[in-house]
């Protein structure tokens, strides 16, 4: 986003300044404020800003969907030892541990 060209009277820098808020709107985390609405209109018309906002929001989405790792058995064993707890004889598999 280093060579932005104003294309509809809205400086592209303003989009960059509010990128964090815009991504929250794109990611459904919050409703658009008046400032965001104006900038989102600009984003629709400006290919550079559109690419910036869309690719960053999709990047966040992709990384949010990386599956979590299971707790390795040796790590769980040491945890239980540290807590002075007993691991059940037929311990549930890691995939049985639900994500809260």
């Amino acid at each position: 986003m280093s060579e932005h060209t104003p294309c509809d009277g809205v400086p592209c820098q303003e989009t960059l300044d509010h990128l964090c808020d815009l991504l929250d709107v794109y990611l459904g985390k919050r409703a658009a404020t008046e400032t965001c609405k104006k900038l989102l209109d600009h984003v629709k018309k400006c290919p550079t800003c559109c690419a910036e906002v869309e690719t960053l929001s999709k990047t966040v989405e992709v990384y949010r969907h990386i599956p979590e790792e299971d707790v390795p058995d040796d790590v769980q064993n040491r945890l239980m030892m540290a807590l002075h707890l007993h691991i059940p004889e037929v311990a549930p598999n890691n995939d049985q541990q639900q994500q809260v």
Partner: protein, 216 residues
């Protein structure tokens, strides 16, 4: 709190299914009275979540294990104070976040890592092919292979600590900017700047993966 050395239990809790609120309260009451089976069940139900938070914030398996142990030691110490004003998992998650951030602070002496701040993000290296296909391809497709999942996970871990913290807390853990600012002692604009740098670096990693996929 005091609790006795655990003995093997005859029945294993089914930790796969989420506990209804009433049953969770019962579990907490048992844990608060020092019931080792209840404490074990709390660990089994929440360790995966805490371990992964530790992995992402701590940046290594070793650090994740330290965060895991410290968190549950603190959970056991404080379980008597838990008043069910939130779900147990949320409360444990909050403790784990605090433990992880405290460890980061204590290691660095301060939260900032100024040298890393000066490293500019290589936006020029961003693969525009990712943009070109952004409308007609589900970005999740690029993460399908196990190798790519590992690469993406590794990309998060390899971020400088302050960038990783901003990204993990905001984008993966859904903390507000104000909350992150409060927890890290950074201003909101500084958190935003870290967040942006983290996202740009991760985007580049993702674009590289998409680019590699083209050649396979």
């Amino acid at each position: 709190m005091e609790y006795s050395k655990a003995q093997p239990s005859d029945e294993l809790p089914d930790t796969k299914e989420p506990l209804p609120a009433a049953e969770e309260q019962e579990l907490v009451k048992r844990a608060q009275s020092g019931d080792n089976d209840a404490l074990t069940e709390i660990v089994l139900r929440n360790q995966r979540n805490v371990y992964n938070l530790g992995l992402r914030l701590g940046g290594s398996k070793e650090e994740a294990e330290c965060i895991l142990q410290e968190t549950f030691l603190k959970v056991f110490e404080k379980i008597g104070e838990f008043r069910a004003e939130s779900r147990l998992g949320t409360w444990i998650h909050r403790i784990a976040t605090n433990v992880a951030l405290m460890r980061i602070r204590s290691k660095k002496g301060k939260y900032f890592v100024p040298i890393e701040e000066q490293v500019s993000d290589d936006e020029e290296g961003f693969d525009m092919r990712f943009i070109a296909r952004s409308d007609d391809r589900d970005p999740l497709e690029v993460t399908l292979s196990e190798e790519r999942k590992v690469r993406l996970q590794q990309a998060i871990l390899s971020l400088p600590e302050h960038l990783r913290t901003a990204f993990v807390l905001k984008d993966l853990e859904a903390f507000s900017l104000a909350d992150i600012s409060d927890r890290t002692g950074k201003s909101i604009p500084a958190v935003k700047a870290d967040l942006h740098r983290a996202r740009v670096r991760l985007r580049k990693e993702l674009a590289d993966l998409v680019g590699e996929g083209e050649n396979v």
